[in-house]
Subunit: 207 residues, 2 copies
Amino acid sequence: MSNEKESSSTELKIFEAARDVFQSKGLEGARMQEIADKADINKSMLHYYYRSKEKLFEKVYELSIIKLMPQVASLLNEEMPLDVKLRKFSMKYLELIKANPDIPLFVIHEMNKNPGRLKKFIAKEIGKRVQPFLDQIKEEREKGNTVNLPPEQIFVNIMAMLVFPFLGRPVLQVIFDMDEKAFSQFIAVREAFMPDYLVSMVMKKEQ
Amino acid sequence: MSNEKESSSTELKIFEAARDVFQSKGLEGARMQEIADKADINKSMLHYYYRSKEKLFEKVYELSIIKLMPQVASLLNEEMPLDVKLRKFSMKYLELIKANPDIPLFVIHEMNKNPGRLKKFIAKEIGKRVQPFLDQIKEEREKGNTVNLPPEQIFVNIMAMLVFPFLGRPVLQVIFDMDEKAFSQFIAVREAFMPDYLVSMVMKKEQ
DNA sequence: AATCAGTTTAACCATATAGTTAACTTTTGT
DNA sequence: ACAAAAGTTAACTATATGGTTAAACTGATT
């Protein structure tokens, strides 16, 4: 009577291999054989544990999102002044994304090819979690403490500053001729200036 | 004695269909049959005019990049004060990207799957064109006119603000529950505030 | 030891897909 | 008008790929 979610070694190996392959090649680009090879198991085991490529993909996709989104959302919903929150968010979010640098492009690409999939897992769930943060911005804006932009625009500006380098990484590495090490250094620099910079972008400095 | 590059109607129809399909589904996701159907021609014509899927894709990929990059680069290299240039760049670039909203994600996705491909067409060509702009920022920075960040970081910040909404579009549309019209409106708002906002992000306001 | 469920394997299947071929039609040059 | 070239089509091929199956193995339970 093994436990409900014991995740046999094989099942786990498959999932981890699938996550790597799907995240780097996408649903269409991934090959079941490649996943099997990477997991070092027989291809039939993929179908034994997960019924189909689609099912396996959805598990990976769901987990990829669930791994990041709630952590991000909870950061946004803690109770603290906006400027403090911005600094903390910058640090924590960059930390998080450094540990999962492939997820943003992965999610965006698959969303693009199948917009319905995200809704299946989260849809408004994210929107609802972002809303309190937008409300906080709105409040500060009405007090004249922020730059005079709609909260949604400010939110997008913040996300752009944090995520874009990871989305555009392959292009940036070519343009600036950066190897992996140089790119890491580039991100390290961003981590250093971004907390203050975000605050300066969002909070009003002069009236 | 037809001219060298007359581009028969069929050849052109194929290219346009291929561009649409490749840009929305990617190299792996695209089906030759779908391209043929969309172009309303026999599938064999794809191979008659372009030898293979790979060749056809490269034509599309190359043209997609060549269509945008030089225009962007030339904007960056015109001779004018930095703040004027930032405003102009914001307006022109958003105009350009609105007309080709799928290209950024398309290029980034394919770059991610095959980093070598971009190099084949442009590689340092882009870097070289960006360099004068970085130099201009460097100059202004040394005069104390810009925020105290490395020019590369400032450049990435600028591109992030302009491109990110188009990359993250599918996710943003879900989070903010925007239909196409609402998204267009969202972009219109950005176009309005971005010129001044970019200047405020880059140029030093107080010392 | 025998049994049985869970696990693993190799061989196989069905289908989708890029690409080819050869016959045909249309256009063009003389 | 004729022939050659260019363009177009349907039928076909080869292969890659997701998925199935049935036999074999394993380890626990009796």
